[in-house]
Assembly symmetry: C2
Homo-oligomer: 221 residues x 2
Amino acid sequence: MKRVGVVLSGCGVFDGSEIHEAVLTLLYLDQHGAEIRCFAPDKPQMHVVNHYTKQPQAEETRNVLTESARIARGEIAPLAKMNLDQLDAVIFPGGFGAAKNLCNFAVAGPACEIDPDVARIIHDAHAKGKVIGAICIAPALVARAFKGEAGVSPTVTIGTDAATAGALREMGATNQAASVSDVVVDAKNKIVTTPAYMLGPTISKVAQGIEKLVKKVLEMA
Amino acid sequence: MKRVGVVLSGCGVFDGSEIHEAVLTLLYLDQHGAEIRCFAPDKPQMHVVNHYTKQPQAEETRNVLTESARIARGEIAPLAKMNLDQLDAVIFPGGFGAAKNLCNFAVAGPACEIDPDVARIIHDAHAKGKVIGAICIAPALVARAFKGEAGVSPTVTIGTDAATAGALREMGATNQAASVSDVVVDAKNKIVTTPAYMLGPTISKVAQGIEKLVKKVLEMA
């Protein structure tokens, strides 16, 4: 049984994990017989966004781990405790949370900072030959983690937005286009990516790429 | 194209919609070509529960519509505006939100009160021959809506908990067992139910019953 860590970043597309992407990741991991372990950083979210009005709620603060626990039905641990020695692969679903709470790419672009535990996990996975899956905007985490490291230029997809793709290239990644139902496999670095809601448009389309990603991650793990 | 209303009750199993059940409902509706319209009541949640510690957060209030919008990616309308004339069917995912925010079955059992819009929607659907789908604990809403109405004894599943099943029978419903991968069809009243996380144990099992429910609802609509 392959053991896969899923790194969540809150609960909701505009300030946390994209819920559909996260749930579909769990669905296909379970369908394909993997053991799932969810993690999230125990720290405040960058923003709380009212998902009905789409306006930030400046007066409110929420914790990334606490909100991520909603998606995981309470079965989740702090990211600080994530140990790659106990896992065969790690998957990062998307949503603005990946670009606000796991790094700050959403506001700082290619000059973004990355959460130290996220950087540790990506480097550990790479060093130990574990597989990394990244969905939607989450390939930005992979690009940021290896920024400035000679010899590692991860090949990832990020959708068709030219500015976003340019920002990834600025961080040293190689951008490769893929449709919403497809994945990009960087066999050398053991990285699998799919654009999901960077392209959309609907959940059944996004599901095709995520199922393919999960199967590929498990196959390579 | 069949038009299906999905009634959400917040975002998280312990105080809102069970997220997996809600997302799987959207997934299979989209996969099977339905047009999806999400709704939720614009009112405060009964509770806010910290899903990591599983403790109520007494000092915090959240709005059912605002939190439900996280699952719907912002594409949602207030339940008061839900009009059965514009829909072919309605589906209620489960989670404690169905038993705390759409009715108060979680605290009042068979003596529970039901949200007036939820009662209106269930009665309207029944009167107009639209199909009703109810997942997990949500069959309690159907039982409560028809409580005391001579001639309507909906046949529904609710899992294997004897006390819960007894409470549904006290409200006048007929309880029928089903496995997590199966549905109960009340053809006379056009009601389809599946136990989902009342039985579990994992997302891929729950998905089997929900996909069957969605297909049956669309077939009967």
